[in-house]
C-alpha cells in the first residue's frame, strides 16, 4: 500500500488501442503470475507483466491503451501489483462485460476507470483504436460504431477526477493538509 504510484486523472476522452482481451472470470493476478503478487518494483513488474500471454506486450503498449475483459473481470483474490504493472505501461482503463466487486472497489479506490460495457468483449478486436468517454461510458471505434456502458456514479466520477479516493478524501476531510512531517 505504501508503494502506491501516483497516477494523474484520465483525460475526458481516453484514446488508445485495445491492448488485450481477456475471457470470463479472469483472475487479475495472472497478469504477472501468482509468484510475483507481492512486488511493487516497477522494473521487476515490467519484466513479468503479461509474459505468459505475449512477451512483446510491455514494448507494444502505449499510454492510453485499454484492456478488455469478459464477465466478472477480476474474480479471485485480487492483489494490487498486477494493475500497478499495467498502469505503469500506460494502460488507462479497463472495459469489461462486468466486474468482480472486490476488484472493482479496490481499483476504483486507486482511480482507475473501470467501465461496465455490455458487448465489449465481442464488439472490439485486439489492436482496435478506441475513444473512451469514461464519464458517459461510451466506447467509439474508428468505423463510428459506439458501444454504451453504465456511467459511473457521481461519487465514483469524483474519485476518478481526483486521481483516486485518497486524494478526494484528503481534499474533503484533511484537517491539517500541510502537516505531513
Amino acid at each position: 500500500m505504501s508503494a502506491l504510484r501516483d497516477y494523474p486523472p484520465p483525460p475526458d476522452v481516453i484514446r488508445g488501442r485495445v491492448a488485450w482481451i481477456f475471457g470470463d472470470d479472469f483472475d487479475i493476478d495472472l497478469v504477472i503470475g501468482v509468484e510475483n503478487i507481492k512486488s511493487y518494483d516497477a522494473d521487476f513488474l515490467r519484466g513479468k507483466v503479461m509474459r505468459q500471454y505475449d512477451p512483446t506486450f510491455a514494448d507494444r503498449v502505449r499510454p492510453g491503451d485499454v484492456i478488455v475483459g469478459g464477465r466478472n473481470f477480476g474474480y479471485g483474490h485480487p492483489h494490487y501489483p498486477p494493475m500497478v504493472a499495467l498502469r505503469d505501461l500506460g494502460i488507462a482503463a479497463v472495459l469489461a462485460e462486468s466486474f468482480s466487486p472486490g476488484f472493482w472497489r479496490g481499483e476504483t479506490y486507486n482511480g482507475m476507470p473501470l467501465l461496465t460495457v455490455p458487448g465489449i468483449s465481442t464488439g472490439v478486436a485486439k489492436g482496435d483504436n478506441v475513444a473512451v468517454d469514461w464519464r458517459a461510458a461510451t466506447v467509439r471505434l474508428d468505423d463510428g460504431t459506439e458501444l454504451r456502458g453504465t456511467p459511473p456514479s457521481d461519487r465514483v466520477r469524483r474519485v476518478i477526477e481526483a486521481g483516486g479516493s485518497l486524494k478526494l478524501l484528503l481534499a474533503e476531510h484533511a484537517r491539517q493538509p500541510a502537516d505531513r512531517s
Binding site: 472470470d25 483472475d27 466478472n72 483474490h77 472486490g102 486507486n110 457521481d154 484537517r175 505531513r180
Partner: protein, 422 residues
C-alpha cells in the same frame, strides 16, 4: 416501500427512511473493523494521522481492531508489527482485541455482529456477520474513507433471496451449500448483490454453519450475505450484546433480483479444485475420490467452529489419520478451543493423530507450516489460489470439515457421507 434486509439495514445506517437497490449514498457503519496487517492498518493509521491531521476520534467506539494474523513465529518482525498497532490504538483510544482468535469470529463473541448492525472491514469475510442478521461488507481500502469521515459512499445492492428447505444430510454442511450455489448460479451469480437466506432450512441451520456460509459470500460475487434473524440468532445476540440493537426482517413484497429455493436434503459433499472456487472447479467429492493428500486443514474464518470440530471428531473417533498425512485443526477462537477441550473433542482429535494449533489466521494464508512444492492439501480455508497456503507448486482442494476429516483418514479425497451413521 417494501424493503429487503440489506436495504433496511443500510437505510437505518444512512439515517434515511428508505433506500433502494441502485441508490448511491453515504452510510454510517456501526463498526469499522480491521485486523492489523502490514500495508493496511499501519499505513491507514499513518495516513489518518499524518495526511489527514486527525489527532482525536469523535467516536472511537466505532473503530475495532483485531490482532489475529502473524502470531505464530515469535519473530522480531511480528513483535514490531503488533507494537505499531498497539501504539496507534492506544493513541486513538480504539479497542484492540489481541490474540483471542480470528477476528471474524471474535467480533461475534464480543457482541459487535448484532442483528440489524452494519459492519465494514477491509476484508470481505466480514460477511460472516450475516449469520446474526447483521450486514458485514468488505470494502478494501475504502475503509480509510470511513475511518476519516465516519461514513462511506456505497451503492445499495440488489438482493437475491435463497429459500432453504429440508435438512442437510449427515456428512454434508453449509460449506457444501455455498459451493453448490456457485456451481449452480456461477461465480458471479450474485455479483454486487446481497444473499438473503430464509426458510425452514435456514432456521434449522446452526449459527456456526450460518457463519461459515455467509463468510464465503464473496465467491458468488456477492458483497455480503445475511440470514433473517430468528430465535437462535436473537438468543446469541442477547447473550453477547454490547449495545441495544434493532433486528431487521424483510418486508412482504420486497423487490428481489432473484429468488431461489434450495432443498438442503438434496445436497451432496462438494470439493473445489485448486485454483479458485469458480463453478467449473466445483465437483462432487466422488469425482475426485482417490486423489492423494499430504496435508489436511480444518480452520479459518469459514470453519473451525464447534460444529466443525464436532464433525471432525465424529469422523475421527476411533480412527487414525492416514500415514503420510498431517491433519492440522485450528479452532476459530480461544473460546471455541476451550469449548472443544471441555467437550472432549480435542482429545478425540489428538488420539487420531491430529495436531491442534492455537487460534489464528496463520494457516489459511500460508504463514504457519506453509505447504511445500508438490503437496496436496484438503482444506476448509477460504481460498485455494496458487500459493495461498505456501508454495505456488502445491495444490489446495477445498471442502467441508467432514470431507477434510474423512480425507485425512483415507489419505485420499474422500466423502464422509455415511460415516456419521456408521
Amino acid at each position: 416501500m417494501p424493503s429487503t434486509i440489506a436495504e433496511k439495514i443500510l437505510a437505518r445506517a444512512a439515517g434515511v427512511d428508505v433506500v433502494k437497490a441502485g441508490d448511491n449514498l453515504p452510510v454510517r457503519p456501526d463498526y469499522m473493523i480491521a485486523y492489523d496487517f502490514p500495508g493496511y492498518t499501519d499505513v491507514m493509521f499513518k495516513q489518518m494521522h499524518d495526511d489527514f491531521g486527525i489527532r482525536t476520534l469523535a467516536e472511537p467506539h466505532r473503530y475495532v481492531v483485531f490482532i489475529d494474523h502473524m502470531l505464530t513465529k515469535g519473530t522480531e518482525q511480528e513483535r514490531q508489527v503488533h507494537q505499531v498497532t498497539r501504539d496507534w490504538c492506544e493513541f486513538y483510544g480504539i479497542e484492540l482485541h489481541e490474540a483471542r482468535g480470528i477476528g471474524h469470529q471474535v467480533m461475534a463473541e464480543l457482541g459487535y455482529a448484532l442483528p440489524g448492525n452494519f459492519l465494514i472491514h477491509f476484508d470481505g469475510h466480514i460477511s460472516g456477520a450475516g449469520a446474526f442478521g447483521a450486514l458485514g461488507w468488505g470494502v478494501r481500502r475504502d475503509l480509510l474513507e470511513a475511518w476519516v469521515s465516519g461514513q462511506i459512499y456505497l451503492d445499495v445492492p440488489a438482493t437475491t433471496r435463497f429459500e432453504l428447505v429440508g435438512e442437510l444430510a449427515d456428512g454434508v454442511d453449509s460449506r457444501d451449500l455455498v459451493h453448490h450455489i456457485i456451481g449452480e448460479y456461477g461465480a458471479d451469480g450474485c455479483a454486487h448483490q446481497v444473499m438473503e437466506f430464509a426458510g425452514p432450512g435456514a432456521r434449522g441451520m446452526s449459527i456456526d454453519r450460518r457463519q461459515g456460509l455467509c463468510g464465503m459470500a464473496m465467491f458468488t460475487g456477492a458483497v455480503s450475505a445475511v440470514f433473517e434473524p430468528d430465535e437462535a440468532a436473537l438468543a446469541y445476540a442477547s447473550r453477547v450484546a454490547r449495545t441495544e440493537f434493532t433486528p431487521q426482517l424483510p418486508d412482504e413484497g420486497a423487490d428481489y433480483a432473484a429468488v431461489h429455493t434450495i432443498d438442503l436434503s438434496e445436497l451432496r459433499p462438494r470439493v473445489v479444485l485448486p485454483g479458485s472456487a469458480r463453478s467449473d472447479n466445483t465437483r462432487g467429492v466422488d469425482e475426485l475420490a482417490g486423489t492423494p493428500v499430504t496435508k489436511a486443514f480444518i480452520g479459518s474464518c469459514a470453519s473451525g467452529r464447534i460444529e466443525d470440530i464436532r464433525a471432525a471428531a465424529l469422523i475421527l473417533d476411533g480412527r487414525k489419520v492416514a500415514p503420510g498425512v498431517e491433519l492440522n485443526v485450528v479452532p476459530t477462537s480461544d473460546s471455541v478451543h476451550q469449548q472443544a477441550e471441555d467437550e472432549g473433542l480435542l482429545d478425540v482429535l489428538r488420539a487420531a493423530g491430529a495436531q491442534i494449533a492455537r487460534s489464528s489466521c496463520d494457516f489459511c494464508f500460508g504463514y504457519q507450516k506453509p505447504l511445500q512444492p508438490g503437496e496436496n492439501c484438503i482444506s476448509t480455508g477460504v481460498l485455494n489460489i496458487s500459493g495461498r497456503m505456501g508454495s505456488t507448486e502445491a495444490n489446495i482442494y477445498m471442502g467441508s470439515a467432514y470431507t477434510v476429516a474423512a480425507s485425512a483418514v483415507a489419505g485420499t479425497i474422500s466423502s464422509a457421507e455415511g460415516v456419521a451413521r456408521s
